[in-house]
Subunit: 364 residues, 2 copies
Amino acid sequence: MEQEPETDNALFQENERQTPLGDGRRYFDAGDMQLKAGGFLPSVTVAYETWGELNPSRSNAVLICHALSGDSHAVGWWDRLVGPGRTIDTEKYFVVGTNVLGGCRGTTGPCSMAEDGKPYGSRFPTILVEDMVEAQKRLTEALGVGKWALVAGGSMGGMQAIQWSVQCPQMVDRVWCTASCAAHSAMQIGFNEAGRQAVLRDPAFLGGDYYPGPGPVNGLAVARMIGHLTFLSESSFASKFGRALQGKEAFSYNGGTEFAVESYLNYQGDKFNQRFDANSHLVLTRAIDYYRLESFSGAGARFLFTAFDSDWIYPSHQSRELHRLAQLAGCQSEFVEINCPWGHDAFLLEEVEQGRLVRGFLSV
Amino acid sequence: MEQEPETDNALFQENERQTPLGDGRRYFDAGDMQLKAGGFLPSVTVAYETWGELNPSRSNAVLICHALSGDSHAVGWWDRLVGPGRTIDTEKYFVVGTNVLGGCRGTTGPCSMAEDGKPYGSRFPTILVEDMVEAQKRLTEALGVGKWALVAGGSMGGMQAIQWSVQCPQMVDRVWCTASCAAHSAMQIGFNEAGRQAVLRDPAFLGGDYYPGPGPVNGLAVARMIGHLTFLSESSFASKFGRALQGKEAFSYNGGTEFAVESYLNYQGDKFNQRFDANSHLVLTRAIDYYRLESFSGAGARFLFTAFDSDWIYPSHQSRELHRLAQLAGCQSEFVEINCPWGHDAFLLEEVEQGRLVRGFLSV
């Protein structure tokens, strides 16, 4: 199960698409934060990266919001759409990526040191998507960006993007929200809860205070396996793995790994531990389960909503509903369901249709 | 999380639908078994129940094969279709239910005593669907049934039913296979593997030799949560739970259960430990992942295949493929996709269309 499966197919690099952090990260001191759910965080740090130059009229700034396991390095995990000559062209736009509040890639999160010099661990407060946006807003002001030409994101990143439009309506010109929703359904919450329980029920979780130990590596691996199962589609699993065996020509019948898909899932689960913190997994999955956009009332942005017909965990009817809500609030809005067999991961991987639609959206 | 959610809706009783074993079980000594995958089991016991009377021409016998977490008590878990006056009418048919080989409800399985007086545990061999059928075949002969008027089952039970038609072609008149498939896809194997890893990575698993201790109760609970997520559909989750909170009017933001769907999944996961053995979960999920029906060549039975449009884990195209394979082998076959929003669980719960189709199937 330690063996890396043959996954040269880019389709299955998925959230792993981030290149190593350069490391071009910078760190912004966002100050103290009174959180929406009641908690308090002193001296919040926001890790961020920028590409390109802000133009004199300050009209070319783009904010990229990452999904559950992403980070500030948008030219890594979203390099099919963000970079030099790409749809979100870093030679033309001033592009900013941040790590979300509660994460574990440089921004203040559960593994950060609290004021007593010990990691927050179980003491880390509940974070809402609204808090993620507030932290980004403070950075925005510090960067001298008055209004984002575009706030873009998929999945959890899409929630941040739509929240920007109602929380800071004067600061957003356009929102591109892909493979996301106004609020998680019971089934989406359920899949997140199964992953959380895999972590919480791992004895190595130690109530969340496992630092600097390895922590609940088995629980987090299982949570990541559940995640991967929801990121792909039946047909993408079938075309990549089918019933292929893992490194053998016949079954071993010995209780070990038999199928390539088993090896792939275990590999992804174990590898996730090298770059992600179990407490952040809890904090961030809870944040997106809590999230609910009731209305776009007050938003002044133009909206582009995209979704994928094979995405069964963020089904396209959820993006259609976002489009309907935007129209209801009197906003300019477009919704396109893209035909693509790759499931939820398509938002990271599909570049042709998303690229065409976003270029059109940015040109008007 | 210990609190039982309000699940009076029969839709969500699912595999829990079994009434307590009466206990009308009887135990058949099936003798020694040389297993298909190479293992050996001495003195196999098959737990079974019967209802109704075998008629003088011995033409009214029906075998019911259970799914992953079922047992011999077909008038319990399948009482919408099996019982007095039901579609499979125990006043008209001689109905037999058995617990599968490798299970934990009376038939020889990993928690049974080996010849040394200790539970098999990690020593229990790999079981294939073919072995389940062989054990049932020996019971069939002992019961004096020469030919089943019907072998019926859903999901894993459907695999046994179709395997009967090719393994013992002279002994099967009709096969009704619902919500099943000829072979698991990569995605189906993947979901099973995530559940297996939840068990295998639980330190309390102890390599499988955890008897008589509680065993990997947390791992098995997570595995069952994953299972439940696949048994239902997005719309059944939405209609039952939506975003309803669990016993509160506002979020607590304290790291505990917030949503009713979370409570439901944890409750089902924990309760599963009271009636199921983690080693059986491994053995049986592996058996169905291994299973592959290549062809119905040699089968003489008539076939009815049913599937449900909302069943995303055993999608209806898999049953259509079974129908195609049956026709290819020259067998009489019918396939019906039933419109029903309940997901995979529909095979246990839907009685109107399944009942109508099976009554018609039995009358010709």
